[in-house]
Chain length 750, copies 2
C-alpha cells in the first residue's frame, strides 16, 4: 500500500488519527496477494478503479474501490502500478497483465496505461458495463438500492431486490443522458436520451456564475431559491390552477422571471445562488420527466439513475425523485444505487474471462468505506466474496416483500439513540473480552493494538451513523451487530468466544443425559412438550450477545434451573397450546400427519443448543420427523457455528440422537450468516438444498426471531421461539424483560 | 378605420405606396357595419384581436385579425374603440357591448378595457379557447395545417383535413409549455407540460447575450453554430456510435463544450450567436421530445404546436419537426397552423353566444394579409363567411387522401415561374377587360382607380409568392386563379364578364335548335354520342380564362364549327368508346341499366353550356336519366353561375329540355365555388343534397378536370371532359395544345 490511500475516506479512522493511515499496511489483515483483476472506468471528472484482493489463508476475496480525479490520471496509473507490483513483488504473471477499461477516457488514456504499466488495456462498452455492474449490485448487495425523498423522516429508504429484475430503465446521466431499457442480462436497447445533462448544467453555470467546479456549483445551489428566477404557476394565476391540476408552487417557466425584468436590473436581481438552484431544478426535473415518459411508453415500473450527475447529491436526487413521483402520480419512485459511481468499473471488472464464469456471492463490508464526493450522501463498503453461493430462503411466504429487520432504526431517533448508546457503552467490556480471548494471531500486530484499533474503528462507525443513520444502508440492530462482527474480523479477531463456547458446550453436555432421562420419565407427550419448550427458552438465556445476560454470565449467576424460572410466559406470546395440538395430532382432522422434516435455525452454544434444542430435536426424531439444524457459517459472539455443531454432535452419547446423526436423519447445515441475526434474503446453499420436504421451520433466539424475522411468514408451519433479553425491544413489542416468546404459525392454505 | 392600420402588413400594398394605407377606408369596399363580435387574446408579448365585420349588401361577413404589442396595450384599446364606435356611429347596441377575452392579460387589463371601452369583458379559459380555435381552423380552412422540414425542396407542406380529427395533442408553447390531449370538441386533458419553454429561452438568453428582445435573439441564433458550444456524439466517440443508433452529428450534451474550456477563455470562445443557436436547439428539441413521448404514451398520431414560441420561426419549427421525426422514427410529423397566433382569440370569439350556434362556413381571403412577426414564415388571410354550409363532396372515393390540385407548384421552380409570368403578363389585358366591363359601381371610387388598385394588388401577391411560394398555403393553378378572383371582388369587380356572358349565351341559344335537329337526324345513338362529345369539346373552347383562347375570342376568330375541327382527339385521352358502350348498354351483362341520375359540373357560358352540355344533358334525359347541372355560386371569368344558368333554362324552347326542367328532372345546383376550379373538399350544401342517387359524375372544363380533379376518383362512374388550352399543362400531362380529353372511369367494384 502506498500514499494513494489518501484518496480513501474512512469513517473508522477519526480525523485526529490521520497519520496512522500511512501505516495501514501494518494494521490491515487483508494484505494484498493474488490481485486477481483490475478494472478502471475513466470518466470526464473521475477515474474509478475496482481491484480484487485475497487475504492469505482466508476464503474468498475482496472487491476494493478507489477513485482519482481524471485530471490527475497519473496518480491513478501509479496506484495501479503499486497494486500490481506490490502484489507480485515485481513478477506479474502474464495472465494478470490485462486491465479492463471503460468510460470515455479508456480511449484517451489507452497508450498512457499500456506504456506506464506494461499491461494490455482491454476496452469494454460503457453501457454494457453499467448494466452488468447494476445487475450484480441489485442482486447481490442488500441495501444497495434506495429511494430518496426529503419529505420523509429519513430521506433514504432502501429497496429489497425485486423478484423479477427485468425490465428496467437505466438513466445514465453524464455530460448527456442515455436511457436504456434493459430486458435481460444480455439484452438492452438505448430507447432514448437527452442532451440536457450534467454538461448542460455545468456549462451554463460556468457561463452564469463564478463557481470553479461542479461541487462549488452544487454548494451555490444549496443557498439559492429558484422562486427568484422561475415563474411559478402562482405568479401567473395568483394561486393553484386546479382545472388543469397544477399547484401554485409548480414551476410554470424556468427562468421565466428574467425577461420580465428590465435588462439593467438583471445582474443585481438574479443571484448566482438562485440561478444555480433554478438550473439544477431545470435539468433534474427534465431528466426525471423524460425518464418517466419513457417508462410509461414502455410499460416499465423501475427506473434506476446512474452517472456522475447524481453523485449522491441530495437536491439532485430529491428533484429527480419529485419529478418521477409527480409525473407517475405516485406510482413510480426513482431508484438510486449506493455504489452508483462504480457501476461501470464493476461491469468492466466482470468482463475478465476468469471472473465472468465463476459463481460468486458477495457481502458488503463497511469497515473501510469510500465516499463518492464531499457533498454526496452515504458511503460504499468493499465487497467481500463469500465462499459459497447465497440465495433467498425458498420457504419464505413472500420473498419480494420480506424484510429481515423488525425495526428500521433510521425511522426513530430515540431508538437509534438507545442502540448507539448501548453498543457504545458495551464496547469497552467487549474489548476487554477480546483481550482475554485474542484467538490465533493473524498478523504481526499485537492483540492489544488490534483490540484498541477495533474499538476505535467501531466507535468511529457508530459516530458516523449517528450523524447519517442511512450512510451504510438500512440501519437496524442486525446491521449494527453485523458491522461489529466485521470490525472484529477486520482486526483479526475471528472467534473471540471460542474458549467460552467450548467450556459451555462441555458443561452442558455433562447435564444432557440426566435432562433426557427426566424428559423420558414424564407421563405423556403433552407434559414433555411443555418441558421441552421451557428448556429451549431457558437455554436461550445463555447469550453473551445480550448485554444484560452478559453480566449474569460473567458473574456466574446463571444456571439452567434458575434460567427456567427467570423466563416469563405471557399468554399473548405463547402459542404452546397450538404447537402442542399440532405435534400431538389431536386436532379434529384425520388427514394431519406428523411433520416430515423440520429445519431449526439455532442460536447459542452451551445450554441453548445442548439442553434446549437437541432434546427438542430428539422429540421430533422420535415422531419420525427428520431434523435439520441450521447454524452460523462464521463465528459471532457465542453463537454455535455449523462446524462447531458438527463436532459437538460427534460427542453426543444419547442413542436416539446418535443413531439419527449416523442415519442422516439429523443433519447440520450452515446458514451463510456471520452475525447473530438471520437475513433470509441470502442464505447459504446448504440451507437451500436442505429445504426440500421441510414442513416445519423453527427460528430460535432473539437475534434470529425478534430483531429479525419477527414478522417473517413462511410457506410451511413455523415456530419462533426466543427470550426477550433487551428491555427496549421487549417494551417496544409489548413484552417484559425475560419474557419467553413461542409463536406458532400454521402454513396458510394455498 | 384609423391609423392603427399600420399594424397590418399587407403584401398587396408595395413599400412605395405606404402613404396610401392611410386612406384605406376609401378604397376598401368592406366598410365596417354590424361588427358582430370582438374577441381579444392578451398574451405576454402580443395582444391578438379578432373582429367580425359585414359588407353592406353582401352575404356573409368577415373575420378580421389584428395584433398589437402588449406593452402598447393602449393602442389595442383605441383600435377596438374605433372599430366599435365607427361601426355604430357612437350608438353601440347593448348586445354588442361584450368583448370576449382570454390569455394572461385578460385578467391584468380587465379594468382598463371595461373603463375605456364601456363594455363588458367576459373572460374565457385559455386552453379551451385554443382548442376551439384549432378545431375550427383545421376543419374549415384548407392549407391551414402544415409540416415543416428544411431538407425538402419546399419546407412547408400542407396537410389535408384528417377524416377523424380526434384524438390529437396540442402543445402550446408560451413562457412554459402545456401539452393537452384533446379527445372531442368538448373534452380535453392537460396530460403534461414542461417548464422549459419560451420564457426559459428568452430568460437565459437575456442573461447570456445582449439581445434586447425575442426577435433579436432569434436573429442572433440564425448566425450561430451550436457545434461551437455543444458536445456532439462525434466529439466523444470520434464519429457515429452505431451500437446505440447515434450519429456523430447528434448533440450529446448541450453546452457540453463550455466546462471543458478554461474559465478565462470562455467569454471569448463562446459567441452570443452560437449560444443563442444552442439554446434554441436545446429548448426546441426538448419540447419536441417530450411532446413525442406523450404522443407515444397516449397512442396519439397528430401533434399540433401553438404558442408565441413558434411564431412561424423557421429554425424553431425545423427543430421541433426534427425532434418529432427523430424520436418517432419518421412515423409522426409535427403539425403547425398558419393562423396559430390567433387560435386563442378565435376560440374566444366563438364563445359569443350568437356565434357558437350558427352554421358557419368560412373561406380564407388573402387580399389583406397579416404576418405574425418579421421573422415568421407565411401570412394569414382574413376569413370570409360563406352564406351556406360547405362540406366534402359525398361521392369522392377517398376523401382523406383527395387532393384537388393536379400540380403542387411549390415543388417545381420552373412551373412556378411559368405561371407567375403568364398571370403577370395577362394582368394588363385582364385589367383592360375589367375597365371595359366595370359592372355596377359598389363604392364611390371610380373604376379606373379600382382597376389599377386591383392590378397592383394582384401583382403584389404574385411578387410575394415568387419569394415565398407557400406563404398562403398550397401553391397551385387553383390557388393563383382563386386569389385573382378574390382581388377582383375585393376591388368591387364582382362580375367583369357579365356582358360577355350574356352576349355569348344569346348567340349560342340562337343556334341551339338547328344543332338539336341535326343531332336528332343522326342514324343512331352511337353516332349521336360521338357528335355530342365533339360538341362538348368544341364548346369548351369558348374560355375567356385561357390566355391562348382569349386572343381568338377577342379577335372573333372562333366559331363553333371551327372549334370542333381545332380539337385534337389523341387515343390515350379518349375513352369515348367505353363511355359509348356504357351509355348504349351494349356490354355483355344484362344487369346494366341506364344511369339513374347524372351530376354535371359545368364550365363556361355561351357555346360551352348551351351547345355542348345542354344537348348532352338532353340525350341523358331521353334515356330516363335525371340530370343535375352544378354551376359556380359566384362569377368567375365567363364561367356560368348557377343563377345565370337558371335564367338561361327559362329561355330554352326545346320541348325535351323544357319539360324536364318543369318536371324537376333537370335541375341546377350551386357548387359553392367562386373561381374557375373545383375543390371537392368543400362544396355547397345544394350539391351535397343533390348527390342522393347519382350514379354518374361529369366534370367539365380545364379548371375543373385538368388543373384540379385530374386524379380524383369517385364512388360512381365518372367522365372528365375538357380541352387542353394551356401549352404548359398539355405538355406536362403528355398532350398537345387543343387536344380533347374524354376520360371515363367505371366505379370500382365495392
Amino acid at each position: 500500500m502506498n500514499n494513494h490511500n489518501l484518496n480513501l475516506t474512512d469513517a473508522a479512522i477519526s480525523e485526529d488519527r490521520l497519520e496512522q493511515q500511512e501505516t495501514r499496511d501494518i494494521v490491515f489483515p487483508h494484505q494484498l496477494e493474488d490481485v486477481a483483476q483490475i478494472a478502471v472506468d475513466i470518466g470526464g471528472s473521475l477515474a474509478k478503479v475496482v481491484y480484487f484482493s485475497r487475504t492469505p489463508g482466508a476464503p474468498g476475496g475482496r472487491m476494493n474501490f478507489v477513485k482519482f480525479e481524471t485530471q490527475h490520471i497519473d496518480q491513478c496509473v501509479d496506484f495501479i502500478y503499486n497494486v500490481l507490483y506490490d502484489a507480485y513483488h515485481g513478477q506479474i504473471p502474464l495472465e494478470k497483465r490485462v486491465i479492463k477499461a471503460t468510460g470515455g477516457g479508456a480511449h484517451k488514456y489507452y497508450d498512457l496505461f499500456r506504456e506506464k504499466l506494461g499491461v494490455e488495456m482491454e476496452r469494454e462498452d460503457e453501457m454494457e458495463c453499467l448494466i452488468t455492474g447494476l445487475n450484480f449490485l441489485v442482486r447481490q448487495i442488500s441495501s444497495e438500492v434506495f429511494t430518496y425523498d426529503e419529505r420523509r423522516a429519513e430521506s433514504m429508504q432502501f429497496e429489497s431486490t425485486p423478484a423479477e429484475l427485468f425490465p428496467y430503465l437505466l438513466v445514465n446521466i453524464g455530460s448527456g443522458v442515455s436511457i436504456l431499457k434493459v430486458t435481460s442480462d444480455t439484452t438492452y436497447e438505448r430507447i432514448s436520451g437527452t442532451s440536457l445533462g450534467g454538461g448542460t448544467l455545468w456549462g451554463l453555470l460556468s457561463l452564469l456564475t463564478d463557481a470553479k467546479d461542479y461541487d462549488e456549483m452544487l454548494e451555490l445551489s444549496k443557498a439559492g431559491d429558484n422562486k427568484n428566477v422561475d415563474m411559478l404557476v402562482g405568479d401567473i394565476y395568483g394561486g393553484d390552477y386546479p382545472k388543469i391540476g397544477l399547484k401554485g408552487s409548480a414551476i410554470a417557466s424556468s427562468f421565466g422571471k428574467v425577461f420580465k425584468t428590465p435588462p439593467e436590473e438583471r445582474k443585481e436581481k438574479f443571484k448566482q445562488e438562485d440561478i444555480s438552484r433554478s438550473l439544477l431544478y431545470l435539468v433534474s426535473n427534465n431528466i426525471g420527466q423524460i425518464a418517466y415518459l419513457n417508462a410509461q411508453a414502455h410499460g416499465v415500473q423501475r427506473i434506476y439513475f446512474s452517472g456522475f450527475f447524481i453523485r449522491g447529491h441530495p437536491i439532485t436526487m430529491n428533484t429527480l425523485s419529485y419529478a418521477i413521483n409527480f409525473w407517475s402520480k405516485g406510482k413510480i419512485m426513482a431508484l438510486f444505487l449506493r455504489h452508483e459511481g462504480y457501476l461501470g468499473a464493476m461491469g468492466a471488472f466482470f468482463r475478465h474471462s476468469t471472473q465472468s464464469t465463476r459463481i460468486q456471492s458477495f457481502k458488503e463490508n463497511f469497515t473501510r468505506i469510500e465516499k463518492i464526493s464531499g457533498s454526496s450522501l452515504g458511503a460504499v463498503g468493499s465487497l467481500d466474496e463469500f465462499p459459497t453461493n447465497l440465495a433467498a430462503f425458498p420457504l419464505l411466504q413472500a420473498a419480494a416483500s420480506y424484510n429481515p429487520d423488525t425495526t428500521d432504526l433510521s425511522k426513530s431517533v430515540p431508538l437509534q439513540q438507545y442502540w448507539f448508546d448501548l453498543l457504545d457503552r458495551n464496547l469497552a467490556s467487549l474489548t476487554a473480552i477480546v483481550l482475554q480471548h485474542p484467538g490465533t494471531p493473524r498478523s504481526a500486530t499485537d492483540s492489544a493494538t488490534r483490540a484498541s484499533e477495533f474499538e476505535t474503528m467501531y466507535r468511529g462507525h457508530l459516530r458516523r451513523l449517528r450523524q447519517e443513520p442511512t450512510a451504510y444502508g438500512i440501519l437496524s440492530v442486525r446491521s449494527l451487530l453485523d458491522l461489529r462482527e466485521q470490525c472484529l474480523r477486520e482486526m483479526g479477531f475471528n472467534d473471540v468466544f471460542a474458549a467460552v463456547k467450548e467450556a459451555e458446550n462441555e458443561a452442558a453436555l455433562a447435564g444432557l443425559s440426566i435432562l433426557l432421562d427426566r424428559l423420558d420419565a414424564l407421563p405423556d407427550d403433552g407434559a414433555r412438550i411443555d418441558a421441552l419448550i421451557a428448556n429451549v427458552l431457558a437455554g436461550n438465556m445463555y447469550d453473551w450477545g445480550s448485554t444484560a445476560v452478559q453480566e449474569l454470565l460473567r458473574k456466574g449467576e446463571l444456571d439452567f434451573d434458575s434460567a427456567r424460572t427467570r423466563v416469563g410466559r405471557p399468554a399473548e406470546f405463547d402459542n404452546t397450546p397450538q404447537l402442542k395440538a399440532r405435534l400431538l395430532l389431536d386436532n379434529n382432522t384425520t388427514t394431519q400427519l406428523p411433520y416430515r422434516k423440520a429445519m431449526i435455525f439455532v442460536d447459542n452454544s452451551g445450554a441453548d443448543i445442548v439442553l434446549g434444542i437437541l432434546p427438542f430435536a430428539r422429540f421430533l426424531l422420535s415422531k419420525n420427523t427428520y431434523v435439520i439444524l441450521a447454524a452460523n457459517t462464521s463465528p459471532s459472539v457465542n453463537d454455535v457455528t455449523a462446524d462447531e455443531l458438527r463436532s459437538l454432535m460427534r460427542k453426543i452419547s444419547d442413542p436416539v440422537l446418535k443413531l439419527a446423526w449416523a442415519q442422516g436423519k439429523l443433519k447440520v447445515v450452515e446458514t451463510g450468516m456471520s452475525g447473530p441475526c438471520l437475513d433470509l434474503r441470502r442464505v447459504g446453499e446448504e440451507v437451500v438444498a436442505a429445504c426440500h420436504g421441510v414442513d416445519l421451520v423453527v427460528v430460535e433466539g432473539m437475534g434470529r426471531a425478534i430483531h429479525t424475522n419477527f414478522r417473517a411468514e413462511f410457506k410451511v408451519d413455523s415456530v419462533k421461539i426466543a427470550v426477550f433479553k433487551n428491555p427496549q425491544v421487549a417494551k417496544q413489542l409489548g413484552a417484559n424483560m425475560y419474557d419467553g416468546m413461542v409463536v406458532f404459525n400454521a402454513a396458510q392454505e394455498p
